[in-house]
Each structure stands twice: as C-alpha cells, then as structure tokens.
Symmetry: C2
Subunit: 221 residues, 2 copies
C-alpha cells in the first residue's frame, strides 16, 4: 500500500499554538518555515495529560542538557515519550527556560495583553479534558541558550534557516503542542516572530513491541 510520507501538515501561525495527535511509532517533524523562529514544544500522554515530557527527568536519564539524535525524551513518570531521530538545523535547542507567560511580558514592561507560549498551550489544549495541572518546561526547539564555564546563560537569536526541521518519533500515543514563540522583545526570534509547521509522518518501520526503552545510562539518581 502506497502512503503519502506526510500524513498531515498543521501550520502554526506566528504567535499562535496548535495541538496534534501523534500515535506511537509515528514521527512528528517541526519545520521552521521562514527561519530564525523558536518553537515551544510540549508533549502529553494522550490518555492522561498529567503525564508529560519532563526536562528534569530527561536530563537525569541521558546525562546531557539536550538529547542527541538517537536519544530519548522522558516523561515525569520516567517513560520514554519521544526519540530525536533527525535534526537538519544547527542543532542548538534549549530545555532550561520556562515558557513565556503573561507575567513575563508584564515584567518586560508590556502593558495589557501579549500572546505567550503558556497561553498558547492552554488554548491548544482546550479540547482536552481534564486539562493538565501545570505548564511543563517546554522543549524549546531552535532556541539558543548556551551555558558557559561559569554556569552563566546567554540568550541568542535562533540560527535556523528557512526549511530547517527537527523530527521526533513518538514512543507512546501523545498530544504534541507547538507554540510559535511570540517573544518580540528579547532577541530569541530575531525580533519578529514567524510561523512553524508540524508534519505528522507515517511510521517508516514500525517499532517492535517492547523495543522502545533504549536510552539508558543508569548511573544516576
């Protein structure tokens, strides 16, 4: 049976968020359509949104600030939820910084409403009940926050070109939310937020049952 390699494309307009359903074994690709744009990615177990990707659990499992291609992301229940399978960007991403939210923009001097990744998450998940109890630390794709030898962080503009993408394989049925980060005060989006696209792709080679636990340093706490 011939199937289209792209099952579904969802455009995430600048400053907005979208949710997609991804089944275990499918791949989900986020494309930076114009370049220089950060995406805040949140991942929840489809059958229970209180289980979600957790940066602190992922770091504990992989001994790195961000997975390499072939490594996995883990939930707050320490189950693998995504595997990073391809990255055509310069490979700089962040899992240290909270999603922007109304309080953040207020502290930056914005008077009145400003779109935020936290609100985009809430809006994108509105059809799903019960809502998750928290705004998890996002997977901030294309966001450049290098850590120097003094543990200081720098905030740099995203270095992606138009069409750069990052691709994950889902290790469980999940809800993936992508927010095209509306930050236009700090430099991370080069000052002008633009759009992203989410492509959900058919499983190339369905993973055998029970073969998903493959990250695996076990030396940790």
């Amino acid at each position: 049976m011939a199937v289209s390699p792209t099952l579904q494309r969802t455009v995430v307009p600048a400053r907005e968020g979208r949710a997609v359903l991804v089944s275990s074994g499918q791949r989900v690709r986020v494309v930076d359509l114009e370049g220089g744009q950060v995406g805040d990615v949140f991942v929840f177990a489809r059958d229970d949104l209180s289980e979600h990707h957790s940066a602190s659990h992922t770091r504990a499992q992989i001994d790195r600030l961000f997975p390499k291609v072939g490594e996995q992301f883990f939930t707050n229940r320490r189950r693998p939820v995504l595997t990073l399978v391809e990255d055509t960007s310069v490979g700089r991403h962040d899992m240290l910084i909270a999603a922007c939210d109304p309080e953040r923009y207020a502290s930056l001097g914005v008077a009145g409403w400003h779109a935020s990744c936290a609100d985009n998450l809430r809006l994108a998940l509105a059809p799903f009940t019960p809502a998750p109890p928290v705004v998890p630390q996002p997977i901030n794709i294309f966001m450049r926050i290098p850590v120097d030898e003094h543990d200081d962080l720098s905030w740099l503009p995203a270095a992606t070109g138009a069409g750069d993408s990052i691709t994950f394989r889902a290790e469980m049925d999940c809800v993936v939310v992508v927010s095209s980060c509306p930050q236009d005060i700090a430099v991370i989006n080069g000052g002008v937020p633009t759009s992203l696209a989410i492509d959900v792709l058919e499983a190339e080679d369905p993973a055998p049952q029970g073969a998903t636990h493959r990250s695996g340093k076990q030396s940790l706490s």
Copy 2:
C-alpha cells in the same frame, strides 16, 4: 527584645523528609550535619501550594544555572520566593535533576520499596491540603552535577563537610520541605545517606515592604 537567633531546629533523618513553615523575612538554613549529603529542597507558597519554586523560571530571571549569594529564586508565577543569603559550603548545587522517585529506583534495579525524595515530599506535605499537583524540580543543595563544554553532565559525590550550610531568606510566607536524599546507589551521597537539619531563624533586619524584587536582568524571554 532579645530573641534567640535560632527559633526552631528540625532534624531531617537520613532518607526522610520534613516540612517547616517559614514566614516572609525569616531565614531558613539547611545544615549538613555529617557532611557529604544532598538535600532536595521544595518551596511552596503557604496559602496556595500550586505556586511553588520553579527552576526554569529562576534560570530565566537570573541567567544562571543556580543563583549566587544575593540572587533570588522565583516561583512558577515569577514571584521571588527565596533569596540566597549565605553559603558556607563549596557552593556546588543543582537545579537540573528531578527528585528521585520509585520509578527511578526500579530502573536502577531495586526490587520492592525504596525511600525517595518524591515520596518524602508527599509524606511531608500530607498535613497540607489540597496537595500540590506536581513534584516540582527541587533545589538540590550540595548536589554536584557539573555541566561540561559539550553540555554533558557528571554525577559527583557531595563535597560538603560536617556543619556546612546554606541559608535563604523567605520572600513570602511559604512551606519549605527538605528531603535527606536516600540515594544509595548513585554516588551523590557517597553511598551512605545521612541526616540534615533545618533551622528557621528570626528576621535579622526585616525587609521594607516592596523591596523584595531585586533580581533583575530583564533581557530574556
């Protein structure tokens, strides 16, 4: 009026957790009684436990992996909750790694029950309702998880000596939970968990109203 500088000492036995109430302006000191022991510290707003210290919001505010003396910790609503006022240890602490939990010990090969910082938190907060909806990323005091130039993490034994301490000033009324980390498989506690103490100290010099927002890089997202 002469007051004792130490209002209250709470010993946290090895592998257990304890909660203390701390009022805005009071200081809370965690002492490593025998040395080489990690403490997982969780902080919640006393009147609403859904507001809690958030490592990802703190990092966004201070541009560092961990506050320096004089810098603040922030909640998931971006309010200052603690100021780091004194550190007599070697000054290595962590805010990258999740609290250990039953799933962690299962993955490390433990059969049956093992004490964990996540369970210690739940037990310590049992008197408080409603319970917080999550186990937040802890402030892992005395825990040494250096990040190298490749973004790789190492797990090292705590380097504290007996009597070393870290002291915070509360910037709001809060519940502080300290778990004497029961990790005895990984090296972080030198293989043998020991006890900590929590001292709640009178405010030395009550902060003037409105003077608590003093961290303050505003260049971020």
